[in-house]
Amino acid sequence: MVHWLFATGFVLLGLCLLSEALVGTEVWQRQPWRKYLWPGLLFALGVLMWPVMAFFTNSAIHTYAHGSWAEVMMLAGGAELGLISGRLRSPWWRLALPLAFVVGGTAIILHEQNTWLFARSAFLHHLIGWTMIGAAVFPLGKAFRPRSGFFQTGVALSLVVLAVMLYTDRDVAPVFGHLSPLAGAPHR
């Protein structure tokens, strides 16, 4: 259930980034509130991940994974907020976003202990992890070419794809007809 809430957040994040890619950064930033919109949303998603970590995890490795996502989302969102406001000047802060992709992707792979076809959630953990690690090339390119429409669009669509994958998650469900008997009865 929490996955679906965060999926909605990532849809909004992806749509905002896609809009910025479409109209160009100069137009996007003409309104003061709008230039803080997606970095603020990313930061807020990081903040909201903390209660998820505290109340919705049931093992140490899940707690560490959710904690790492909270940290890297807050770091990436905060770095972008700092760069936009002018409080941060070094362009190296732009590397916080690709770092978030790589750390987030690695954490979701490492905290999944089952194989790909164990159940849908296991499959999605592997798929999301490798997708985010591969998609890190887009924020990395954006860090060095911030105005590139290609890299901006890549980041936006990566987040939309992430949202789709999170929306397909269930507590226990088969994936391509496979469901380990150890996973339990399908539900939700």
């Binding site: 849809v11 909004l12 479409l22 109209v23 137009v27 996007w28």
Partner: protein, 105 residues
Amino acid sequence: MNSNIATHSTVELTYVRSARAFVLSLLGPLTIGAGVIWAIVQPWRLTLLHPHGQGFWWLVIEPPLLLAVAGAVFALVVARPLLAELDEARSRGDTVPGEQCAATG
């Protein structure tokens, strides 16, 4: 100066500008549409349709509705003001930097 080239560039820039505005205007409705289609294809995902025995959070968190709401919020809060600004800039004859870059490749 070759007037043919200048005319071609203006037409291309206008085309790109309108195409981008058109795509932007579609993002919200497409997201809402995706949520509605999802709700039709998988009606069991909407616990409001069969609320008996559902807990509070299962009734609040309805993924197809969340997606549709996200599309609506984006369309109203982000896309609509942005499109209005683009229209305003177009009526003033301003050059939009991002669009100019795209038009020139």
